[in-house]
Symmetry: C2
Subunit: 379 residues, 2 copies
């Protein structure tokens, strides 16, 4: 497979079961991409991440451009060799972390200059430099540089950032050029304004890109606003291209977004929560810090195939979390990524069977029942 392609093999309502193919491998969609911030999925061996059914991971351009540096990664053979992940990698553009982490940002038509949050050094990120960095990393799916603003915001400000992002999409497409085995995705912006979201989606669609992301959501707005924006945006995007909802989300967010036609997700939630004592399970969320787990000999889920989920008692996990032992983060991250990938696998099977609504209902019922019976919280 020398070309980047996307095929939809089954649909169930708006939900799609598809396959992205590229030289480094295939991605079964709907897909969840574990976040590998700094060339590592925190507290995991990448072999484990793969064994859980991950077809693709995400790398953060912002972090990697600062440490170890894109040119250095290129000299070491690219991100795949560096991190020992020979499978597909998607990189973001760096724009989002510039907004959330860097200081002294200065936006212009040209790009953004900022100071590193690590050592204060000044860097510039333009659409062209972002694509250059992603190329140095040898990323398989590259994202356009965009301006993602915080909500709530004035409509005029949302519109200005959305229009700038469209111009940057054009410049990124030119910089990316013709690379048959790879893809550059555009990003729909427009905040919580349906008309702006539609205009952004239409203009990106007209560029004929290989894939489309929806950005600037799950940045603090209520879930129903996010879902409403998906409802407006997704129908505008072409059927034959993958759709990626950036930075989302909870298991519930993901199922409801698949139902609205989204194919790809990434989120720090399973990995970050795993470092803070929170487990995602078939029974809902379980906060292992809670004292009621202190003498509970039951595992998180005796029916799971994941050793972290099946073989360790809640009492032991509670102890590891309370003592801040690294193994606690290792086991809970492993459990959480296992649960997320199990959820995606279940969703893919259900779409193929034309039973996605039933799958969502059963899964949600499991969370609610867990909440009722064991005092866990709904996912």
């Amino acid at each position: 497979m020398s070309q980047f392609t996307f095929d939809v093999s089954a649909t169930d309502g708006l939900a799609r079961r598809g396959t992205i193919s590229m030289p480094r491998g295939v991605v079964r969609t709907p897909a969840f991409m574990p976040v590998g911030t700094a060339a590592t999925v925190k507290a995991m061996y990448l072999d484990q991440v793969r064994d859980l059914g991950s077809d693709i991971i995400l790398g953060n351009t912002y972090h990697l451009m600062l440490r170890p540096g894109a040119e250095r990664v290129a000299r070491l053979g690219g991100l795949h060799d560096f991190a020992r992940w020979p499978h597909p990698i998607l990189t973001d553009s760096g724009g989002f972390q510039v907004m959330s982490l860097a200081s002294l940002r200065k936006m212009s038509e040209q790009g953004v200059t900022f100071r590193s949050h690590i050592d204060g050094t000044v860097h510039e990120l333009t659409p062209e430099r972002s694509i250059e960095i992603q190329g140095l990393l040898d990323s398989d799916i590259q994202m356009q540089l965009d301006e993602c603003i915080r909500l709530p915001a004035e409509r005029s400000e949302i519109e200005r950032a959305m229009e700038l992002s469209l111009r940057w999409a054009e410049r990124c497409a030119v910089a990316f050029g013709d690379q048959p085995g790879k893809a550059m995705f555009g990003i729909v912006q427009g905040g919580d304004d349906a008309a702006l979201r539609i205009r952004s989606a239409e203009r990106l669609r007209d560029m004929g890109l290989k894939g489309y992301a929806v950005g600037g959501l799950a940045v603090g707005e209520p879930q129903d606003v996010m879902l409403a924006m998906l409802g407006e945006t997704v129908p505008v995007l072409p059927h034959g291209k993958p759709r990626y909802l950036m930075g989302v989300g909870t298991p519930d967010d993901i199922l409801k977004s698949i139902m609205r036609g989204i194919d790809m997700f990434d989120c720090v939630m399973p990995t970050r929560a795993g470092r803070h004592g929170l487990a995602f399970t078939r029974h809902g969320r379980i906060n292992l810090k809670n004292a009621r787990h202190a003498e509970d000999a039951a595992p998180l889920d005796e029916r799971s195939a994941c050793p972290a989920t099946r073989d360790y008692s809640r009492a032991y996990l509670h102890h590891l979390v309370r003592t801040q032992e690294t193994l606690g983060a290792m086991l809970l991250t492993w459990n959480n990524l296992a649960y997320y990938q199990q959820l995606m696998s279940g969703a893919r099977d259900a779409i193929e069977r034309g039973a996605f609504a039933d799958f969502v209902a059963e899964t949600t019922e499991g969370w609610v029942r867990g909440e009722r019976e064991r005092g866990t919280a709904r996912s």
Copy 2:
């Protein structure tokens, strides 16, 4: 095997190749015991620790009595079930950490009272309570409570603590009673005073215990003082009982102590160093923080069977250490324990072949050559 036994199957000079057998398994000696402080060998899955050839791990009574508490561990089935390590476990008495971590210590003939370094609560540790706690943990090899003082110290102070430790050994032996499948070891004290060490070893030998430790060494004194004390003490101890040098040490310390008749070791060095960017290898110590590794695509040792040692570039390890990523600690701890166990395995084979001196010379030569060729440091 329902009885705790020790057999020496080969000797080479004073070095011994032996087997400790007990109901939970056998320990091949010379043995290195990874330190599992709080029911976890930091940054490792215990399955990995086992796969590296570890026959036994060490648990810290002080840490476990405070969190999660000995009675709680007992209610959860003991330390083996709690931590998922069905193989032998040795526990220390708690005395050493009381000295090094707790505040407001008050020593008396009866025992020691102290405040927890975690929450300031007051606890008492007597010889009887230490053995009771180790029994609640269901430890296979239990250590007497002793008083370990810092060196340098006045001879009178060393003698007082040594005599107190002997009286506590008697009380621990009574508290331990008759448990055929388990063992309680006495601890030789006496600081850097040969006469006191010999007196301590003779009096413990006369108690007819199942094993003997040498304590109060590697607490800051030069290596030659430590080795001199071993030279005085070990000949006094009975041939047919295992000898355990507590808290030691570097690979070089371990080889030189095996040569003086020691059978068992524990040390936080491989695990702690792994969390601080330091790798122990066939080529000596490698400090991965050092900038000269930043673009070195070579692994730590391409000839190792350990994935952490063989499959990851020094450049990647350097990046993980510099960014303080958990995976850096995971990989370097794995590498270090692999190297320590490889060293023990090599030592056991060499003693069987009657070639231990050659093994020590070759191993030391590897460290020196590494130091010369790659700028690593001697282990």
